[in-house]
Amino acid sequence: MAIFELPGWTALAPAVLLAATALALFVIDSISPTTTNRGLLAGTATAGSLAALGVAVWFVLAGVGTPTIDGGRGVIDVLNNQFVVDQLALFFMIVITVVTALVTVASYDYMEEHAYQAEYYSLVLLAATGMATMAAANSLVTIFIALELSSLPSYALVAILKDNRGSVEGGLKYFLIGALSSAIFLYGISLVYGATGHLQLETIADVIGNGDANDYGGLLGLGILMLIGGFAYKTASVPFHFWAPEAYEGAPAPISAFLSSASKAAGFVIAFRVFTEAFPVAQTASVIGVDWTVAFIVLAVVTMTLGNFAAATQENVKRMLAYSSIGHAGYALIGLAGISADGGALVMGAAMMHLLVYGFMNTGAFLFVALAEYWGVGRTFEDYNGLARQAPVACFALGICLFSLAGIPPLGGFWSKYFLYTSALDAGLLVVAVALVVNSALSLYYYSRLIKAVWIEDPIAERDSLSQPIGLYAALVVAAVMTVALLPMFGPVADMAVNAATAVLT
């Protein structure tokens, strides 16, 4: 595969393809502004994201990012290191494009008779572009720009149901918190810049390493903390999570899926990259006088606990999933909490795997909610009662996703959770590991509540037979199948994740 014959920027092909698709959609829209040809629009969007996915996978197979000594083609840097395309980037690009594809397919039915089809899809694609770029961004500048590029369309998407109060309220809260957070984030960047004089990650690391920043310990520390705030916002972690429940609940369900899976993953990839590339634990600690993993340990425990406890007593299914996604953010945070001077590749790889699995199972769960909204059966657990009698297949898929979220073997969720657990123990994070177990136990309760509703309870009100929207069903089933299918494929996935983590950590 002739990667090196191509100009370097083509390494960003996944992101570029997504952007191109977005533009293509604009073109279609401008040619026929009133098109309601959902097939065309959704098709284009899906095709674009699938193409991006294909390219990403192809790069992986072609060995981009794997060190040349292992017969790979090494890391490719673009625009003199403003972007890098390594396994980490590709891994998350895959996650993001997969989710995007699922979401666009599902939207085919969901956004039926919605006025602004083209805008919707192009916004999704733009946000995806931003996230893909985040995966590859290697300098605080590009990171911030990519972050905004993914955030701004997201605001619009959440609020896209203009006449739906929930959607608008969610959008507003998402936006306001987002604006605040990005301001904090930017200020953090400025402080880091002040302390080190650089924005490109490796150079920052060098400055910290050779001790030029030693006089600015406080400044740098505050900056790092503010950066953490930015990531916490993007990954919906405490205390920057407040937007999540409302945004997820208010937004169109596919968008909730999109944000809670892809956007979260994107937030984590920049966090991983920044903290591994720019702030090596040991050296940074020697400058700012404290191990920044402490912050993530606290965040991880608090986030998973709050998310799960708050989810336990929800009546609204979508909101329950929203809180559960906060809880899962907490699990993934272990990946950062476990990084230490001597490695941490395992725990970080485990977090990456969890995000991948989460991309499937959580998307699946939210897509079922989308299906329910499409049917118009209602939003609470009671409204979901007895759905299995009318739509066994969809409910079967839902069951798989939920059990996987709860971490029941042999489903994907169990494996990633287990890897998190064991690697956390390996890293000596006893408290975090225990919190993980306790929260999993609790989460089992509210997930099984939903199972109970759809499979066990009898429907309250007699509802007429439910249609089977092709797009939603397809996306849902694919998500569920992948959740199971990961089981045999877990070997290679685990290897890739761990290798990627090792690569950025050294």
Binding site: F144, A156, L172, F175, A183, S190, G194, G197, G250
Partner: protein, 101 residues
């Protein structure tokens, strides 16, 4: 004689705090937006000052980017404000509380 960098930092921090204060106290969405702008600009001041201090242009260039982004953000924000007003007949950020707990 140039002004010492820490004064710029103090200025930006003051600005940042004012913005934060605004966000916490103002209930009008527009004022909320303005406060955010203040905070962003505080960051810009930092960037430029530090660029001057470190003697490289990265910060100044980045400041330009941020202004553009800030503008985009405001654009989206205003759009959301419009639909907010359409749905709630108000631009008070504390009005929409249909979703809680």
């Amino acid at each position: 004689m140039a002004v010492e960098v820490q004064y710029y930092v103090l200025l930006s921090m003051a600005l940042f705090s004012i913005g934060l204060f605004g966000i916490l106290t103002r209930r009008n969405a527009l004022l909320f937006l303005m406060s955010v702008e203040l905070m962003l600009n505080a960051a810009n001041i930092n960037l430029i000052a530090f660029a001057f201090y470190h003697g490289n242009l990265t910060g100044q260039v980045f400041a330009l980017f941020t202004m553009a982004l800030a503008a985009a953000e405001v654009a989206i924000g205003l759009g959301i404000l419009l639909v907010l007003y359409r749905n709630f007949r108000d631009v008070d950020v504390t009005v929409p509380t249909t979703m809680r707990w």
